[in-house]
């Protein structure tokens, strides 16, 4: 619990930090990289759940996450190619990836219902944080209309996933 809070806090600080950095303007290549990284992180989390969980609902949820984020990230890659934009690694992407790796390590030590609960709780927290970043930083900062449009669809998708995760969490209680 403490570890989860710490990790959620790290993400919150990171996004606040990123919001402050918005004064320095996040560029479209950086935004593309952050959005893509956010998808990859959830794909990695889903793969871990598919390996470790035996719960039917959790496995179904993880498969949904894997399928959606792979589809959207493919769409994102097609878009950056079309726009001739090269996604650019940046501090926000790196901090996101680092927090996610720590979360995976923490979850790897759990098993059974403990793992299931922690995975789903983290999915709720993670999607919530990404929604915050999309709303307050990434969408407002995006210059290219197509990129902005993709991010707006991404926001609806992440909001849907958050509700889905909340539903799975409620059923496990």
């Amino acid at each position: 619990m403490y570890a989860r809070l710490t990790s959620a806090l790290a993400l919150a600080c990171l996004i606040n930090g990123a919001a402050l950095a918005a004064d320095n303007k996040v560029t479209d290549p950086q935004i593309a990289h952050i959005a893509y990284t956010a998808g990859v992180i959830d794909i990695e989390a889903a793969k871990q759940a598919l390996q470790m969980s035996k719960d039917k609902e959790v496995l179904a949820f993880a498969n949904d996450m894997l399928r959606d984020h792979e589809a959207v990230n493919k769409q994102a890659l097609d878009l950056v190619k079309k726009l001739n934009v090269t996604p650019e690694d940046n501090d926000t992407s790196r901090a996101l990836a680092k927090a996610a790796a720590e979360e995976r390590d923490r979850l790897a030590k759990l098993s059974g219902a403990d793992f299931d609960k922690a995975y789903v709780a983290n999915e709720v927290a993670y999607h919530k944080q990404v929604n915050g970043a999309l709303e307050t930083l990434l969408i407002p900062s995006a210059k290219n209309a197509d990129l902005k449009d993709l991010l707006e669809t991404g926001l609806k998708l992440f909001q849907g996933h958050q509700q889905h995760a909340e539903h799975v969490a409620a059923m496990m209680k």
């Binding site: 998708l157 849907g160 889905h164």
Partner: protein
């Protein structure tokens, strides 16, 4: 004379009965960027609702205990409406996707 008239009435009735199933309509709902549109449709029992999914991800049109239609990415799925009522349906994968089906 009487019998001839009865026959004509019967013919007319048969025509009406034969005509009504052909009037069943197909109503299309498009899904784009995780939005059902139109968000509300009104159909008659016997009509067909067809969902066209323009997104890259799969969706469903679901009413718990009533129907659960899987709509593949870039594809369509159909439902023949069999009972009257108001059905608030949603997508199981993205519960923030909501719409309404009115059947009379």
């Amino acid at each position: 004379m009487v019998s001839k008239r009865s026959l004509c009435v019967l013919c007319g009735l048969t025509l009406i009965l034969a005509g009504s199933p052909a009037r069943a309509e197909t109503i299309r709902v498009t899904i784009e960027k995780l939005v059902f549109s139109p968000a509300e449709i009104s159909v008659a029992v016997g009509d067909v609702v067809e969902w066209q999914n323009n997104d890259v991800m799969a969706h469903t049109a679901t009413v718990k205990g009533d129907f659960d239609i899987a709509i593949p990415p870039g594809g369509t799925a159909a439902l023949t409406v069999t009972k009257a009522g108001t059905f608030d349906y949603f997508c199981r994968f993205h519960p923030n996707m909501k719409a309404r089906l009115q059947v009379w």
